[in-house]
Symmetry: C2
Subunit: 678 residues, 2 copies
């Protein structure tokens, strides 16, 4: 089969870039109203169609004159001119300045015909009308009788104190060049020119086709018993298309009906500049795409030497009208799909839209840990970031400033202002990796390892991604969730107490939340602690009459546990050990007799939800969760939860904010949480 | 009057910031469909409402078993279980795994009831149904007869090769915190959770009221003879509001009808979180705003010690419903209005919208020239930028990289990678300053001067502003306009040949376009040159029968000129000198006899347009312009136009691109331009 042959011969990533660059995604230019033009890109040069200002404009209060009439005038020998009338700002002049005459003007007034200069009022005197009192000068407030004649104590040259029509910008002058991104100031200039419709580059239309019977659109009902999952890629990629300056079009799910999938692909090709499909894992869906491209299109490339994204497909689809649409097939796992989209496809969409790569799309970081690598192909490694430079990007200081504060680039390995970069290796199938990783680091095929401290460039998943200011790890706990809500831009990985404490020791996170006893000895500081009541969660009314741990051992009850490494499990293990001591039995034997002791669930609520669903008779959990979700609770003890900060991070601004929250209000933090005490 | 009193006592800029911070612009949170949520900010924490995956999922191809049934199995002593059925991905299981049985599963399949682990197919053997051939193992392709029994050559623990429901994210777990900006990846996670409506921070509604009879909305007809101009501020500020995360509402022009203005202000206050008015220059408009605020509102501050923006007003407007709206009065000149908006108002809108200051909103630069300053109040100086670091922000390299390449921050005065910063001092009334300046530098009241090379922070007018890669200055010329269209992100200031050459000598621009003879001696390189025919432009058919310069001197013709310093004027001056020599007359006497010799217009087309409009009998101009606009032309000569680059900029990428354009095609550049020759 075609794909097998081509798969053996993986293309280099550069070839994939070139293949995509060879596709024409550029739509026709279009015209948009000025009010919708912000963020768009000019398709062609805009020349001024009118003069700004559109009239010769007096730029002082005074008198409009023919300059020649003032020649020779000075303080000793003023020239007198007849006052023919007045023009104020916003009026059409009703007066003409003939030789020997002048007209009163205010700033902003249209210069009357005949006049070519303005004499400022301070250099003039009114000569009273016949029969009036002889007057002082100036003011010319227009409220009194108008004088007949004005005396000028200075001469002016043509153009003096006149802003000529077009002096700001003249009709015919080049105003804005093609390719200009329209920000508020360009909108302002176009307004001044009276432009109502703006010729802009079109936004490439990007069709998104997703395949797979198991996919359900968010908002629709999900039937997990049939193995259904929500469609993540369509909405993620659609948001990425918009961000890159394209217009996404979501096509309905093709399911696994191949005729329908073929029809949708052809429809999308007819309607869009680019068609993306996010890979069905089923080989047969790939076959359909192949068939469509081979029958009516061109396959440019299949299979790229990159991890993830090896099965990337690049080609062209013929349109019914004789044109063609570009096609790229993305991997199926969400992080892989977004990575390949961001690396290969988004730049092509931006290029077609005329938009530059955003300056914030990459961040220079340094590896927090050593990372081995030897896969022989380009690896786009998902990574998380932690910005240790307090006041870094996340609180408004820009990247330039952050960089400017740091040492020079030739000693970046220990540059403390570069954010820490750590691999996120949850497996690309996990959607939570989407938010636990901030971007990807491209690791060359011939790189064996990245050293801790080594400078790396992180391509962020979005130019709007901001590295978190605080990284916490450890126990899953409802009070911790509340605490996080009070902080600006934290990240918390609920990896359990043991793993959290290990990571704190290894130096990446700022804080670890540790529940229950700890053995390790880490150089840390306890920022705050509280107690929580734990035990067995059983169905409402405790129908099996569970009274304690012994019931799990002695009776045929289905139990559900938390993973080793969580504080809850640690305390439960200790309680089992105590029971074993009491009975002089082996701990392992007791455990062996508990059905489901090894069946562990990831989040602290999960065992409770199993019990609620009737799939377990008892689960380990918190009184808080049991009461909140309406279960009964058999208490086994209290356990201490401590927020521990790495000693060398205590002075960080974000850690200090966390400490301040804890100083101020652990009582407030645990208020209303059943079984919690400060 | 109130304003006079308060004006004497100008507030410090910090007090203005505090006054604006004291206003409550925050709208209520709202709910938006997931597909519209990109770029918005979560109003509250989102916990997972469902488990992801929503079912226990086989993560290998193999057999679902009760783990206990496999205990003790190994290669030497396999365990046999009865095959009860099969489950494939995307199906609801129709089989239950009772003790002693197993079910075939494929990756992604829902685990059947009873089973708690998967044994991978490679560690199993099929036992043929009674009467069948004894079979090999594996495959389990389901196409042949189904075997009766499966032999397991390994034991598994509960949970092995099963991704438990919620293992990616569990129901009840904290998914995203309040204040999270929704980028594609967060959209992805929300999709996985099936979230259809997202609780987000509201966008502050910002009403924009503009005053002044002379203002006309872009697209409407303009009557310059009445002194009308297009309204620049409303559209500029509206675009700025959108950019800052607000929703602008444009109110119709209030004109100078004060009752109407009052009605509009109250309507805007009722409907908006913030009302902005961009200052009418008329003192009486300010009076109306005062009266409205004093009658129904609070005036917090009037007059700030900042240039521009001194007359800024900050207050509150009562609403009919008992609430209140914030009010800020902006200056009237476009650059001043945008500067005050960007410095004081946009941060408040972003804060209310929950958005951080964009990282690209400021740039660290260095002064290109010495700038004196001693005004005693904060100056927000409009500046242009020139990014000399080739490959800087403008071609995709981000600010971090640019900064990382440069030397350390403690030697920034001569840091060649900081963009050059030069003041733009066209007067804040000029709308072209909007696009000739990129942002503002805040200069402290006690700063006497900024040295050339001094590091400064430039607040860009928009985070999307990109400093130009090339700065050109000099003569206005249609071939230059064509040339500029072929370059990426250039800036060209048509200041005339003389001023352009002066600036080239002073070291700010990269290139100067010089037409006609030059006296100066600058260290430069000519990148390309062409000739253009210049002369007198007269009405079509040359009704006055103008034959040359002598007609202007000897007859009563209205002439219109270009400014001294332009190449056209320089050549005209030389021609007048030649005529004076011929006649043995004084040059000044001849000039004196030309009506309008001193009346100069800014753009090269402007004299021609004056002639076209019937306001002049002749103007200096190019054959190109005369022919294009349908005038007759009286040739006076050819003049050389040279594109000259500063010697120390010749190697810059942007200058090299320009040189390449000229090398390739001056003939192409001037093709079709009447009177031009390469």
């Amino acid at each position: 089969m075609t794909e097998r042959k081509e798969f053996r011969d993986l293309a280099e990533p550069e070839a994939a870039r070139e293949a995509i660059a060879s596709l024409d995604l550029s739509p026709e230019p279009e015209s948009v109203p000025l009010t919708d033009a912000r963020g768009r890109v000019l398709a062609e040069r805009v020349d001024a169609g009118i003069d700004v200002p559109g009239f010769d404009r007096a730029s002082m209060d005074g008198y409009a004159v023919r300059a020649r009439d003032t020649f020779g005038a000075d303080e000793a020998d003023p020239v007198e001119l007849e006052l023919a009338g007045a023009v104020h700002a916003g009026e059409a002049p009703e007066v003409t300045v003939d030789p020997g005459t002048c007209a009163e003007v205010s700033t902003g007034a249209v210069m009357p015909d005949g006049a070519d200069a303005v004499v400022m009022v301070e250099r003039t005197d009114e000569r009273p009308a016949e029969g009036s009192e002889p007057g002082g000068n100036a003011g010319g407030d227009g409220t009194g009788d108008r004088p007949d004649r004005i005396a000028f104590r200075t001469s002016v040259a043509p153009g003096d104190h006149v802003m000529a029509a077009g002096a700001d910008i003249a009709a015919g002058a080049r105003a804005l060049g093609p390719g200009t991104r329209l920000t508020p100031r360009e909108i302002g200039l176009l307004s001044a020119l009276g432009v109502e419709e703006v010729p802009v580059r079109g936004r490439p239309t990007v069709g998104i086709v997703s395949t797979g019977d198991e996919l359900v659109r968010p908002g629709d009902d999900l039937d997990p018993s049939r193995g259904e999952i929500y469609d993540v890629n369509s909405t993620t990629i659609a948001a990425g298309v918009t961000e890159a300056g394209g217009e996404p079009v979501l096509y309905p799910h093709a399911g696994d009906d191949y005729a329908e999938m073929e029809r949708l692909l052809r429809e999308a090709a007819d309607e869009c500049d680019l068609v993306l499909s996010s890979g069905s894992t089923s080989a047969s869906a790939v076959d359909v795409i192949y068939r469509v491209i081979e029958e009516r299109g061109d396959l440019l490339l299949h299979g790229v030497a990159v991890k993830p994204g090896k099965p990337m497909l690049i080609g062209r689809l013929d349109r019914a009208d004789g044109g063609e649409s570009a096609y790229v097939g993305l991997p199926g796992y969400p992080v892989s799909a977004l990575t390949i989209f961001r690396t290969f496809v988004a730049p092509a969409i931006r290029e077609a839209a005329g938009l530059p790569e955003p300056r914030t799309a990459t961040v220079e970081g340094r590896m927090a840990v050593r990372e081995r690598y030897a896969e022989g192909r380009l690896r786009l490694m998902p990574v998380g970031l932690l910005d240790l430079g307090d006041g870094g990007a996340a609180d408004g200081r820009n990247a330039d400033e952050a960089a400017a504060d740091g040492p020079a680039a030739d000693g970046p390995a220990d540059d403390p202002d570069r954010p820490l970069v750590y691999p996120v290796d949850k497996g690309s199938g996990a959607t939570t990796s989407l938010v636990e990783a901030d971007g990807v680091v491209a690791v060359d095929p011939d790189t064996e390892y990245l050293e801790a401290g080594e400078p790396v460039t992180v391509r962020l998943f979005s130019p709007d991604v901001r590295p978190p200011t605080l990284l916490g790890v450890g126990e899953d706990d409802p009070a911790v969730n509340r605490l996080l809500d009070r902080l600006a831009n934290p990240r918390y990985l609920p990896v359990g107490s043991r793993e959290g404490y290990r990571r704190l020791r290894d130096g990446v996170p700022d804080v670890a939340v540790v529940a229950g006893p700890t053995d390790r000895d880490v150089d840390d500081a306890v920022l705050g602690e509280w107690d929580r009541e734990w035990g067995l969660v059983v169905p409402a009314g405790n129908p099996e009459g569970v009274e304690g741990l012994a019931d799990l051992v002695d009776r045929d009850l289905r139990f559900v546990n938390r993973p080793t490494g969580t504080g809850l499990r640690r305390s439960l293990d200790d309680a089992v050990a105590d029971l074993a001591d009491e009975r002089s039995a082996a701990r392992a034997d007791l455990i062996e007799r508990i059905d489901g002791y090894g069946l562990t669930l990831r989040a602290f609520e999960s065992p409770v939800r199993r019990v609620l669903a009737g799939d377990a008779d008892a689960g380990v959990g918190l009184r808080e969760t049991a009461e909140r979700l309406g279960c009964a609770f058999v208490p086994l003890g209290d356990q201490r939860v401590a927020v521990r900060a790495a000693a060398d991070r205590v002075d960080r601004e974000a850690v200090a904010s966390l400490a301040a929250e804890l100083d101020d209000g652990i009582a407030d933090l645990v208020r209303g949480l059943a079984g919690y005490s400060a």
